[in-house]
């Protein structure tokens, strides 16, 4: 801990948290109803509530971040405050890691244990004989015990290109960071823009891959354990890339406005951490979902 103790900035009252709570209420309640409406084909207002929730959430984020940026730009934040933000962001990323761990855990369990047991492994010989005697364990699971068939997504081709794109985007973001630290604003802007374009390309190719999976390979969300883990892992990863790209976009706008100094640039740092984290998740995902 540093020895100097400036006054720690405790913000006065703020309306944004309660607005954010209302937004989450609308999202959760709307989504809870919307899911039923969509799958049961009933009419209802869930979708509108959900959409309204996102509108309120975006409104809240704009207001909240505007307050924080204004406070930061007017020099209210001490070094200690900066440390709070950094630690907060780091622990948030830890929680995100654990979220993905749940799905990776499911993937490992399914491959190593569930499929083995379904084909008679451990002490399940009798269950196997009675339930699905013709089932063969394999990975990717191209034919489920229930008989749904699919084709596997190859590891080469598009997914490999996407991996390269994401890795390169991490590198360009790193150069943007060094540009910021060395006060090379030109390098910062260009490298940040390149990172954003690479992120957008990744997402576009990912959408293309999904269409390919659904249309040509018969690989859908409902095609058994392989499809489940494939779509949930890549899908949540894609959502995180989208979020990371939106954060980077706002960081880019702030860079254009001349924000951030070589010493103080928490928002940039946090966005970069998030982007690198998303990149690492992809590498794990590529290895365990596509390659092995």
């Amino acid at each position: 801990m540093s020895k100097t103790y400036e006054k720690y900035y405790v913000p006065a009252q703020s309306p944004w948290p309660i607005v954010g709570a209302v937004a989450l209420f609308l999202i959760a309640f709307g989504a809870g109803n919307y899911v039923n409406e969509v799958t049961r084909q009933q009419p209802g207002y869930g979708g509108y509530m959900l959409a309204a929730g996102f509108v309120v959430l975006i409104f809240m984020l704009f207001g909240w971040f505007k307050n924080v940026i204004d406070e930061s730009m007017s020099g209210l934040y001490s070094v200690q405050m900066d440390r709070s933000f950094r630690q907060g962001m780091s622990w948030f990323i830890v929680s995100e890691v654990m979220f993905f761990m749940a799905f990776f855990g499911a993937l490992f369990y399914g491959r190593v244990i569930a499929l083995d047991w379904l084909s008679g492994g451990s002490n399940n010989a009798m269950t196997f004989e009675i339930l699905w005697p013709s089932f063969e364990a394999m990975w990717p699971l191209l034919k489920t015990p229930g008989g749904i068939e699919t084709q596997a997504m190859p590891a080469t081709g598009l997914p490999l290109i996407n991996t390269a794109i994401l890795v390169i985007s991490s590198v360009t973001l790193h150069f943007a960071h060094t540009g910021l630290e060395q006060s090379k604003r030109g390098q910062l802007k260009i490298m940040l823009l390149v990172t954003l374009l690479l992120g957008a390309t990744f997402l576009g190719l990912q959408v293309y891959e999904y269409i390919h999976a659904y249309r040509d390979l018969g690989l859908t969300l409902a095609s058994g354990f392989y499809g489940n883990t494939f779509f949930l892992l890549t899908g949540f990863h894609g959502m995180h890339v989208t979020l990371g790209a939106i954060i980077l976009l706002f960081v880019f706008f702030r860079v254009l406005k001349g924000h951030f100094t070589p010493e103080k640039h928490f928002a940039f740092q946090a966005a970069a951490w998030y982007w690198h984290f998303v990149d690492v998740v992809w590498l794990c995902l590529y290895v365990f979902v596509y390659v092995i």
Binding site: L24, G88, M98, W117, A222
Partner: protein, 527 residues
């Protein structure tokens, strides 16, 4: 001999915002702490009312008052509310109030996010409670929402349940991040790690557990959602999944979760016992290490909830031995509390009474936990009332008693008034007797084979169940005394001094009572 110090200090009046906006817009850790505690109390009574419905139905064999489906909803929502709505928010409220004062911080590290964490909760539980009034009723698959009960056989309210758990999780994770960052970054100069009060230590470790496991809960409810609505088969063997996978993921969250609900209790008892024994805590360092080991072990024991799912013997043995290992650090704690009291100049005000009851009754719950950990024995106990007795001893006479003890202990600091000691003693004795009438006989009916979560039972359990139900109603009624004490204390009473209790030590006892709206705006210096 009384522990109450009776000198008088002048009162501080400082500016605070007024009206409803004070509570909606607040960034003050004391306001947010108060809101958490009041919310937890309300939820405690709503969840308690559901327990009363359960006990009324079980008062006699046969179907009496409610339909089986409604009974299932009661057991489910009672569990969810007590875990996520009462115990966890109460501990978070205590953390909000006490941690900044204990470490000499001006507030929590991220005050606005702190308010957001709180205000999500009333909305989350509004959704959960509203789902009870949907056609087909609310969630009825038990608070553990095992697949396929929650996927294939659940009602339309499942999606609402899933999303309400999602936003509860968001609230918990943000609360936990705030606690960790506050402790790491906002300690006053000189407040080194091994000088921190144990309540701060235990909450630090609890917050770490929350960050590690709440996202896993979010993951598993998401899989339930997609399995039910979008055709995935994570928990369906026909698609290559496995219902047992659900239990693995759920209990990977669930077991650390039960320590999330008990570690702060250890911190509270470690604060109260030294005060009323007028001796420093015995074995401070060993308490810190024991808490850490319990947290670490909590990640390695989840499958002891699943011994009857047919796991390989090697797995069962591993989880059995790891589970028993937890008794060692827990035993260290109980030993340290007893050693702290050894030859202390003890007095027995209400906080100390609840803390003492905690030590004895929590240990009973710990012992029945050890019995359940023995794999072959667990085959007999699994899903019986013995399990219900076990976890209610650790959660009601453990977690809830510690929260009540904390409330009595710190009420004078919060309100500036002493609570009514006589009424408090009445609350304690009524609670102590009724809670044991309620939960102790459950051990016997459980060992005799009465299954849990069933609205009817075999005739030979009738007398025991009538007795248990009477204990339940008395325990519920006893908590009304608690409300009376709280209201009375908030409205007025004997003025409390800064130190409040003769043997109390720590930064929170150096600020006046009631604690000023803002404390430690410049950090204090700790010797």
């Amino acid at each position: 001999m009384s522990a109450v110090v009776t000198d008088h200090e002048h009162e501080h009046h400082d500016h605070k915002p007024s009206g409803i906006k004070r509570w909606l817009y607040t960034t003050n850790h004391k306001d947010i702490g108060t809101m958490y505690l009041v919310f937890a109390l309300i939820m405690f009574f709503i969840g308690g009312a559901m327990a009363m419905v359960i006990r009324a139905e079980l008062f006699q064999p046969g179907m009496q008052f409610v339909e089986p489906n409604f009974f299932n909803q009661m057991t489910t929502v009672h569990g969810l509310i007590m875990v996520f709505g009462a115990v966890m928010p109460a501990f978070t409220g205590l953390a909000n109030w006490m941690i900044p004062m204990m470490i000499g911080a001006p507030d929590m590290a991220l005050p606005r996010m702190n308010n957001w964490s709180f205000w999500i909760l009333p909305f989350a539980f509004l959704i959960l409670l509203m789902s009870l009034f949907m056609p087909g009723g609310g969630p009825s698959f038990g608070w553990t929402f095992y697949a396929p009960l929650s996927t294939t056989y659940s009602g339309d309210s499942t999606a609402l349940f899933v999303f309400s758990v999602h936003i509860m999780g968001i609230s918990s994770i943000m609360g936990a991040i705030n606690v960790i960052v506050t402790i790491f970054n906002l300690r006053a100069p000189g407040m080194t790690w091994m000088k921190m009060p144990l309540f701060v230590w235990t909450w630090l470790i609890t917050a770490f557990l929350l960050i590690m496991v709440m996202p896993v809960l979010a993951g598993v409810v998401t899989m339930v959602l997609t399995d039910k609505y979008f055709g995935t088969s994570f928990f369906d063997a026909a698609g290559g999944g496995d219902p047992v996978l659900f239990q693995h993921i759920f209990w990977f969250f669930g077991h650390p979760e039960v320590y999330i609900m008990i570690l702060p209790a250890f911190g509270i008892v470690s604060s109260i016992v030294p005060t009323f024994a007028r001796k420093p805590l015995f074995g401070y360092a060993s308490m810190v290490y024991a808490t850490s080991s319990i947290a670490l072990l909590s990640f390695l024991v989840w499958a002891h909830h699943m011994f009857t799912t047919g796991m390989p013997v090697a797995g069962a043995l591993f989880f059995m031995y790891c589970t028993m290992l937890i008794a060692v650090p827990t035993g260290v704690k109980v030993f340290n509390w007893v050693a702290t009291m050894w030859r202390g100049a003890m007095t027995f005000e209400v906080p100390m009474m609840f803390a003492l009851a905690f030590i004895v009754l929590f240990t009973i719950g710990g012992f029945s936990g050890l019995m359940l950990a023995i794999t072959p024995a667990d085959f007999q106990y699994h899903d019986t009332y013995f399990v219900v007795a076990h976890f209610h001893y650790v959660l009601v006479t453990g977690a809830v008693f510690s929260i009540i003890a904390a409330a009595y202990y710190w009420l004078p600091k919060w309100t500036g008034h002493m609570y009514d000691e006589k009424l408090g003693q009445w609350h304690f004795w009524c609670s102590l007797i009724s809670v044991n009438m309620l939960f102790f006989p459950m051990h016997f009916v459980g060992l005799a084979g009465m299954p849990r979560r069933i609205p009817d039972y075999a005739l030979q359990f009738a007398d025991f169940n009538a007795f248990i139900s009477i204990g339940g109603f008395l325990f519920g009624a006893s908590q009304l005394i608690f409300v009376a004490v709280l209201v009375k204390c908030a409205r007025g009473g004997e003025k409390a001094t800064a130190q409040v209790w003769e043997g109390a030590e720590g930064l929170e006892w150096e600020v006046p009572s009631p604690a000023p709206y803002h404390t430690f705006e410049t950090p204090p210096v700790i010797k």
